[in-house]
Amino acid sequence: MFNEMFSYAFMVRATIAILLISPLFGMVGTMIVQKRMAYFSDALGHSALTGIAAGVIMGIGNTTVSMIIFGICFALLLNYISRKGLSSSDTLISVFASCATALGLAILSRGGSFANYSAILVGDILSITYTEILQLIVLFAVILVFWCFSINRLTAISIHTTLAKSRSISVRIMEDAFAVLIALLVMLSIKWVGILLINALLILPAASSRNISDNFREYTYLSIIFSIFSGVVGLFVSYFTDMATGPMIVIIASVIYFATYVYGKDR
């Protein structure tokens, strides 16, 4: 059964991609849940459409580049306006996300041709190429290095910004750097995961882990384990049952979430 599965090059590539993306989602997801940024990452995912639209207008052949540039600008702008405190952050994120999605849809549906881009809504991990896997390896290395150097600072900020400032941590720079990191992760993996599901993959493993963890280390490790497990089992089931991979991974991750929720509640 497994021999047959790995005799196809596309399955080998998809498995490598899953093994690269899922631990990143598990890791970064912990901080997103901790800092209550779930809505922020969702908005970033939706802004991918506008990134593609910007690329189309400017005639950029590789829309991944325009998506990354737009995603980073979008994340930094959101952080900047949130800091100004003119309105509550959920309202601001909602306004920005709706505006970006509408702009992207308006441009891409020009002449009734949105069908060309609808694939990005669900994503397709089976069509990933080795060059794109290389991009994911670089992203994996970047996030790992950032994580090792910044995890304590980010944790301090997530507990309380005043505590972080008292320890001479530059809150603003760290928050901006983390936002850029999320933007990079979301934009580089959105083609394989899909706009509709990317946030579920970021949030579910971390939220499941949070249900049963007692300390931050356990929280991170369990989140990574849940994420890799959902990714691998989801890919396996989707391969044999001929269903889309992204939704199958989310279904497995959801089962884990509900089980940990029940267990965590009764502890």
Partner: protein
């Protein structure tokens, strides 16, 4: 603490076991046996599947499988499933309609460079009356192609021809012969049988398709279409298409486009409009309200039942529907 880790371990093991067992039974129920020496012929869509099964007939050692088809929507936007990828990896030949209809074809050729591809459009485009898209339309699409960059290659409108060629029984018979020639080159042992089957398939098709006298009733008359495929229906009965609006699930039409379409229908005294029910129904009602034209809902053969006489039945049904509307 220990209980928690035991819980996580048990949880992951039970999910794995449930997933493995259910997948195992699913696979067992759905696996079809293909003998090692059999030639596996994959087809890209229902009309090509029907033509290929006609050509292969009951020849031993040749198995025809169709790529899993979308149950709704348009062929052009179809993306391959894992099942398709597996089938293509073990297939000997892929037969396609061509002409830009299969947006995924470039990816397939790149992924399986050894897979032989029979492109039926390429085989018939010079010898059969393939319809060329209008200059304006083509130029517009070309412009769009430049703006869209890499994504544009997957859009069927990139083609300068209308690639729904199977809707014309004349061109379809050419596709059947092209498939027979292509298969004969690959499997020389059965080359005569393929050609004989193709000829008898075409004979049966020609003798059973009944155009209900529409060649006389609508010859030279103006018609309009709400789906590109029906331009070939009009061609088969000798009618002239004066307006085309290609509707599918993702197409949003502007008010200007609709009013322009209605004006053309009124100005050219169009009596009948061909449409597909799923995507043309709302527009069809509007057209019937605003003009004297009758809207006839026809089938495109994309979502079929895979039965041998499907092609003849659907075309006959289409012609009968037009005849009833005209009367």
């Amino acid at each position: 603490m220990k209980n928690k880790y035991l819980f996580v371990l048990l949880l992951l093991i039970s999910i794995s076991v449930v997933s493995f067992c259910s997948t195992f039974f699913y696979v067992k129920q759905n696996t079809k046996d293909v003998a090692g020496n059999d030639m596996l012929v994959m087809t890209s869509c229902n009309p090509i599947y029907l033509a290929t099964t006609g050509v292969v007939g009951d020849i031993d050692g040749v198995i025809v499988e169709n790529l899993s088809q979308p149950t709704t929507g348009c062929l052009h936007d179809y993306t391959l499933t894992t099942e398709d990828m597996k089938n293509l990896a073990s297939a000997d030949v892929l037969i396609v309609n061509g002409g830009g209809m299969e947006g995924y074809l470039d990816d397939v050729i790149a992924a399986y460079p050894k897979l032989k591809v029979i492109d039926t459009f390429e085989a018939v485009e010079d010898t059969y009356p393939v319809i060329r898209n209008s200059e304006d339309e083509h130029e517009e699409e070309h412009e769009e192609e430049h703006t869209h960059g890499e994504e544009s290659e997957h859009h069927h409108h990139d083609s300068e021809f209308n690639s729904h060629i199977w809707m014309s029984e004349e061109i379809f018979s050419g596709q059947v012969l092209a498939i027979a020639d292509g298969l004969a080159d690959i499997d020389e042992a059965h080359s005569e049988a393929f050609k004989a089957n193709a000829n008898s398939f075409n004979e049966v098709m020609n003798s059973h398709i009944d155009k209900c006298g529409l060649e006389d009733a609508l010859a030279g008359k103006h018609v309009a279409v709400l789906h590109e495929a029906f331009a070939y229906v009009a061609q088969s009965i000798g009618a002239e298409v004066v307006a085309t609006m290609d509707l599918d699930e993702e197409r949003q039409v502007s008010a200007g486009e609709v009013s322009n379409f209605i004006d053309i229908i009124n100005d050219n005294d169009v009596k009948v409009v061909f449409a597909e029910y799923d995507y043309g129904h709302a527009m069809g009602k509007l057209i019937e309200e605003q003009t004297d034209a009758k809207v006839v809902y026809l089938e495109t053969l994309v979502h079929g039942t895979y039965e041998n006489d499907d092609y003849i039945n659907v075309l006959n049904k289409n012609y009968l529907a037009i005849k009833n509307a005209v009367e």
